[in-house]
Structures are given as C-alpha cells and as structure tokens.
C-alpha cells in the first residue's frame, strides 16, 4: 500500500521516536531520581528533614510541571542551542523533553519511595544504617517494582511529548503525523503513525508490567 520510500520514512520515524524517548527517559531519570529521593529524604517525616530544601524543590517541580510542553520547548530554545548547538532534530528535542519530564519523574519516584513501609526504614536506622545506605539499600530496592512500573508510565508520557515536539522542529512519528497527515491531508500516513505509536505505547506498558511483576517478591 505504501511505496519503498514511505516505508523507509516511517521506519526512520519509529527509530527517531524510540531514540528520543529512550534517551530522554534515561536522562529524566538521572535528574528525576535525584530530585525524587531528595524530596523523600527532606520531607517533614523523612530521614533527614530539611524544610528549606524540600519546599524549594517542591516549588521548582510544581512550576516546571505546570508549563505546557510546547511552550516550555520554545522557551528553552536558547538553552537547547547552548547545549547541543542546534534546535532541531532528535538530540535537540531530548533537551526540553528531559526538562519537562524530570520533574514528572521526580514525583513518580517520590510516590514510589513513599510506598516503602516506614517501619523498614526505622529498622535500618536501628541497625545503624547511614542516610546513604538507607537510600541505596532500603528505599530504592524496596520500591523497585513500583519504580519500574513508574518508568513505563514516564516513557509513555515522554513518547507523547516527543510526538508533540514534531510541531516545532522535533523529529519522529509526531513530525510525520503533523507534516503529512495534518498539513498535507494524507490521512493514511496519519493513521499509520498513530497505529505505530499505539503499538509502541502498548509495548512499553506490557514490558513495564512484565518487569514489575517479575521483580516484585511480595506477591504470592
């Protein structure tokens, strides 16, 4: 139904989308994990309460999260140019994606870590565990299934953002859908990109569910 060229274009689109999503998810976790852990450690009943750090981080996260992604992407163009030297293409898209997703990831990580029974943290404290040990050996491993589940949710959200980025210079399936489907009324391309996106989302979610189940030792 499609010619060789269109198929190639779609394949490149899939690759670009996956590339942006995976790279942005990775970097979002690098920053989001640190922020999420800090939020949990510094909250009022955390292991090292610090009202100042907590409220600053809390406000920053809320602020960044309330930006509509498209606006954020345009707003950070100078920063993106400074970091990667260009404002279009996959690598350039990863920058705003990370900026938008890291606070979201921070919240997900925060809520995952809060699920860890406080009693277990206390037990570790009673054994003389340091804050770092409690983070690395108690909070993160005990929250592992929930963190994995959260990372599937994050990846899917980032995938959605990346599709949006097609409107202002990003690549991938989003760009194809907008360029061909919307601007050129090629409904068939639009439909196929949407179907491809659905398949990718489904794959992420199924893999996330499978990995979560596999890693959780609580269930019977």
């Amino acid at each position: 139904m499609f010619d060789q060229q269109t198929i190639e274009m779609l394949l490149v689109g899939v690759w670009d989308t996956l590339y942006m999503t995976v790279a942005a998810t990775f970097f979002s976790y690098v920053f989001g994990m640190v922020m999420g852990v800090t939020l949990v450690v510094c909250r009022k009943d955390g292991i090292r309460p610090n009202a100042f750090v907590y409220s600053v981080l809390d406000v920053v996260v809320n602020l960044t999260r309330s930006f509509p992604f498209l606006i954020l992407m345009i707003a950070v163009i100078p920063f993106t140019r400074f970091l990667v030297g260009t404002t279009i293409g996959n690598n350039a898209t990863v920058v705003p994606l990370v900026l938008a997703a890291a606070p979201f990831v921070a919240r997900l990580v925060e809520s995952s870590l809060l699920e860890v029974d406080n009693g277990v943290v206390e037990a570790a404290q009673s054994m003389g565990g340091s804050i770092w040990q409690i983070i690395v050996k108690v909070l993160l491993p005990e929250a592992r299934p929930s963190l994995i589940n959260g990372s599937a949710v994050s990846a899917i959200t980032i995938l959605g953002y990346s599709a949006m980025s097609g409107a202002v210079g990003g690549g991938g399936l989003g760009k194809l859908a907008i360029m061909y489907g919307y601007n050129r009324y090629q409904t068939d391309i639009m439909i196929i990109t949407v179907v491809l996106l659905i398949i990718i989302v489904q794959a992420f979610q199924s893999f996330g569910n499978w990995a979560t189940r596999r890693s959780d030792k609580r269930g019977s």
């Binding site: 029974d117 009693g119 277990v120 206390e122 037990a123 570790a124 404290q125 009673s126 054994m127 003389g128 565990g129 340091s130 040990q133 050996k137 108690v138 491993p141 005990e142 592992r144 299934p145 890693s215 959780d216 030792k217 609580r218 269930g219 019977s220």
Partner: protein, 334 residues
C-alpha cells in the same frame, strides 16, 4: 562498669509540640536495666512504652534527660558514634519490618552489609543465625512466603547479626497468635540465657511479662508508676495500675467489702489451703476469683476471697494465715 546497669535512663522526657499545645509522651523516667536482665515495660496503648523503647536507641530523640548505654550518654553522641552504638542494640518490631524484596538470608545479612563486613563471612553468620532460630530450611524464602512467627524469627536472627549486647523488643509478639507468641518468647528467653543478651521487652500483656521477664516497669500516662522484680510486683502491687495488671477488670463489679487476696507459691499449691483454713477457723469464705500464673517457670496461684462480716472471724482467719505463712492481704479499692 561491668557490674553497673547496661542501660540507665535518667530523667528522660519526651515532649511533642503541636501548634498550640504540648504533649508529654514521657516524663521523669528513671530506669536502670541490669546486664543479662529481661526487663519488661508494660502499659496500655498510648501510655508511652513504645516511645520509651525508641528513645533507648534514639529512633526518637528525647527532649530531656539522658540515656546511658554502657556508660555513654547516647543523647550526646555524634551521628557516627550513635550509629556504631546502635549496632550493639538489636531491635525487633511488632510488624517485623523485614525487607520484602530480600530473602530471609539476605535480610539477616543486611545489618552486616551496613557494617561493611566481608560477604562470605556475613553469609556464614546469617546461616548460623537462621539455623539457631529454627529456619534452616527457609533461608531462600521471601518474607511474603513466611508465616508471622517465621517472619519474627527472621527479624530476631537479623537483630542478632551484629552481635548486639541488648535486644529491644517493641511489642514483638502482639501481632502473633498465642501459640506462636509462646514460641517467640521462649526463643527470646533462650537467647538471653545462652548469649547473655539483655532484653528489653515492651508489651501490653501481663502474660508476656510473667513468662519471660525478670524485672518489670509499669508505665502509665508517660510516667513509670511502679517497677521491680516481677514477683514483687505480682505479690504486692503498690499502685492502681499494677493491681489492674495483676487482677482482672471484672473484679471491680464485685461487692467490695472484705475482699482479700491470697497468693500461693509453688510450695503451698500442694496443700488444701482454703479447706484447712475453713475447717480450722470454723467460718466459711467466699471464693470470688482464682487463677494460676506461670511466673518465670514457677506456678503461682492467686485467689480473691470474701471473708465473713464478723470482725472476730476475720481476725481468726488472718491469724491462721499468718501462722501458716500464707500470703493473705486485704484489697483496698480494687
């Protein structure tokens, strides 16, 4: 130093400040816990007993007073030294607090990991401990695959991993059924006897105190109202709170006049005390309540008797009791 108390608490106070109010969870607590004792702290929920035990290892920071562990004031220790001290005090909890994503063996290895002990060595020690608590065949099970009693055994093994000198038990049997409770208590007693580890046992059940404790402190509304050897508190409860623990609440509904409490120890249990007394004194007594208790492995019985109205008869019975060294005491305000 070796003969002094292993833990001594002086003037301990814990105040929780709310927005407009201050609540004293603990006030003026003085306790001395001797090396090798099994020291029970009993009180109703909300009395402050959990806060007290958590102040012993600084999970809860006292707002006043001091806690000395082997002569060092824990309230003044810097963070790193406190962590070190905590390793000498194992703790077990009502909800076990095991790491759910680790096997039993990995749980027991956990405190050793925190100290940076070599892996092989930790593993060996953990295996020994799990064997000691009777879980040699469940080492690779996850907590979700274990029963409550088994989980508490893992928790005990874990608490012992760093060779602590004190074991703090915060309502350790309260989530367990009676038979499992007995087996866990027996294990704690064993550990105390074999390893010489001092145990601090927090509970709301008198039976737990009676079964394993050598000493008891009764806490009520954040204050220690009575403390001493378990037998002493059982024989001669001095305070309302102590009497309530020793006698059932239902007794309050009985007529209050001329009630006496009779205590049998292991020896007198073999003699028909009441029958002899009634025959000898020639006046009847009314048995209102009776039970037996196992205090540190010795059976003790107690009875609540209503003695006759006539003062003369009562005097005769009292004289008989005295002559036969039967412990008989008038109960005032049950």
């Amino acid at each position: 130093m070796a003969d002094g108390p292993i833990i001594s608490i002086e003037g301990l106070e814990k105040r929780f400040s709310g927005k407009n109010s201050e609540v004293f969870a603990l006030r003026g607590i003085d306790l001395a816990i001797g090396r090798g004792d099994i020291f029970g702290i009993i009180g109703k929920s909300g009395a402050g007993k959990s806060t007290l035990v958590r102040c012993i290892n600084m999970l809860e920071r006292p707002t006043g007073g001091s806690v000395f562990f082997e002569g060092r004031n824990l309230c003044r220790l810097p963070e790193a030294a406190l962590r070190e001290a905590r390793r000498s005090m194992g703790m077990i909890f009502q909800q076990f607090n095991l790491l759910m994503q680790r096997t039993a063996l990995q749980n027991v290895c956990f405190p050793l990991e925190l100290t940076g002990a070599p892996k092989e060595e930790s593993r060996k020690r953990a295996e020994e401990l799990l064997e000691m608590v009777g879980l040699a065949n469940r080492m690779d099970a996850y907590p979700s695959q274990l029963s409550g009693g088994q989980k508490q055994r893992v928790a005990i093994a874990r608490a012992l991993a760093t060779r602590p000198r004190v074991l703090l038990c915060d309502e350790a049997t309260s989530a367990l059924d009676p038979a499992t409770t007995d087996s866990i208590l027996a294990l704690i007693k064993d550990i105390n006897a074999q390893l010489g580890i001092t145990a601090v046992v927090i509970t709301h059940e008198m039976s737990v105190i009676e079964k394993i404790c050598s000493h008891v402190a009764i806490i009520s509304k954040g204050v220690i109202v009575e403390q001493g050897l378990v037998e002493d508190v059982f024989f001669h409860p001095q305070t309302e709170a102590a009497r309530r623990l020793v006698l059932p609440d239902a007794l309050r509904k009985l007529p209050q006049a001329h009630l006496y409490r009779l205590i049998f120890n292991g020896r007198s249990s073999f003699e028909p005390v009441i029958a002899n007394m009634v025959l000898e004194c020639g006046c009847p007594v009314n048995i209102m309540y009776a039970d037996t208790r196992d205090i540190n492995g010795v059976a003790f019985g107690q009875m609540v008797l209503q003695l006759p109205e006539r003062e003369e008869s009562r005097a005769r019975i009292m004289a008989y009791a005295k002559a036969h060294s039967i412990m008989l005491e008038e109960m005032k305000h049950v």
